[in-house]
């Protein structure tokens, strides 16, 4: 096992990884790998090590390594997490089960089809950039007109995977999509009536049963479940007889 350069004592850990290659590893199976984990090793680090030293065909997605790109989401011991900030030893288990996200169709190994996420998320048309709510009084450097801030959602798909309804219902817009509609409403992007109409259906806000797993799992403080509840209130308010 290569020395990965991180400090601290090494602990042997087994990773049980779901494998799937259409046509060759089909149906899916679990493969096990050993890694020597140090306290700082993340699940993504472990996957990188396995791919580099043991199995170059292991497929997974990642980019930033620091919880901001949202590509590395997967299930670790049944929980939907960003593997780049999930430490191996924090799992406190000798065998760690690593599986792809649920809900979205499986492409290969730990890779799911994010097109399914996009299909539910994009109709809200949420822009990435939002007005900064912070430092409104702060001086901006020369050439910078104002501070901007990115929307919190990193489009990782964790909420969609954690949602018991989205798991079985492909026509449910789902947490990220509904949260995006709520953000549009908050920001005043588009007609209020149009936004409310877009979510007022059994595929929209009424498809949610309030399990709040999305809020629980969201690694980026979007709290989609909470926003769905607020969106519902807006829909109901707009229908009250005295609303007009």
């Amino acid at each position: 096992m290569s020395n990965n350069g991180r400090p601290g004592p090494k602990t042997p850990v087994t990773l049980k990884i779901l494998r799937y290659k259409p046509g060759s590893i089909d149906p899916p199976r679990y493969d096990t790998f050993q890694v020597d984990a140090d306290p700082l090793m993340t699940v993504l680090d472990a996957l990188e090590e396995i791919r580099a030293t043991e199995d170059p065909t292991l497929a997974y997605r990642h980019s930033c390594h620091h919880a901001s790109c949202g590509t590395c989401a997967m299930k670790v011991n049944g929980k939907d997490v960003l593997s780049c900030v999930t430490k191996v030893l924090d799992q406190k288990s000798d065998v760690i089960v690593v599986e792809p996200l649920g809900t979205m169709p499986l492409v290969a190994d730990l890779v799911v089809d994010m097109g399914d996420f996009a299909r539910r998320y994009e109709p809200a048309g949420l822009s990435f950039v939002r007005e900064s709510e912070y430092l409104t009084e702060a001086q901006t450097p020369e050439g910078v007109e104002r501070y901007t801030r990115f929307e919190s959602c990193i489009e990782c798909g964790i909420c969609l995977s954690a949602c018991p309804v989205a798991n079985t219902n492909a026509s449910f817009i789902g947490p990220a999509g509904l949260a995006a509609w709520y953000r549009s409403l908050q920001k005043g992007d588009g007609e209020r009536a149009d936004i409310l109409a877009a979510v007022d259906s059994d595929c929209g806000v009424w498809g949610c049963h309030g399990a709040m797993e999305c809020t629980e799992a969201c690694p980026s403080q979007v709290q989609p479940g909470d926003l769905i509840m607020y969106l519902r209130r807006e829909v109901v308010k707009s229908k009250l007889p005295w609303a007009h």
């Binding site: 649920g102 799911v112 018991p164 079985t168 309030g210 709040m212 209130r233």
Partner: protein, 133 residues
């Protein structure tokens, strides 16, 4: 490459796992699963209850037979299960209705525990009534 929609092929097995398997899930999920299980249980009970009440049409002796059967210990346990189901479903349902309209969203877990505590208290009281009479 066309992705393989594994979930479509095994929809029903997936539904059982997605809705009722609590592993790796939080309190909100437990509440969701409980609401679903108790809801389905109550629907079955409603049908059973009406079937039983239909024996009233057959007159007094058929009914007396049922009453005697209903007082057996097994049936009393079944009654306890029913009461627990009604309390959990009803009180959690009230919570779901309130949170589902955007009120107390941040406190939904505390709210759940309050409802379950209330259920437990009422359950003990109902159980006492059931066995004291």
């Amino acid at each position: 490459m066309t992705p393989i929609p594994i979930q479509q092929a095994t929809r029903r097995r997936k539904a059982l796992r997605a809705w009722f398997d609590p592993r790796g899930r939080g309190l909100g999920f437990i509440a969701f699963a409980l609401q679903r299980i108790t809801g389905l249980g109550l629907v079955l009970y409603l049908l059973l209850h009406m079937a039983v009440l239909t024996t009233l049409l057959q007159g007094e002796s058929a009914w007396d037979q049922f009453v005697a059967f209903a007082k057996s210990p097994i049936m009393l346990l079944f009654d306890l299960l029913l009461i627990a189901g009604i309390l959990i479903h009803g009180l959690n349902g009230l919570r779901v209705s309130i949170v589902g309209l955007g009120f107390g969203v941040k406190q939904h877990k505390t709210f759940f525990w309050i409802m379950m505590l209330l259920s437990a208290l009422l359950f003990v009281y109902a159980g006492w009534l059931l066995f004291a009479h």
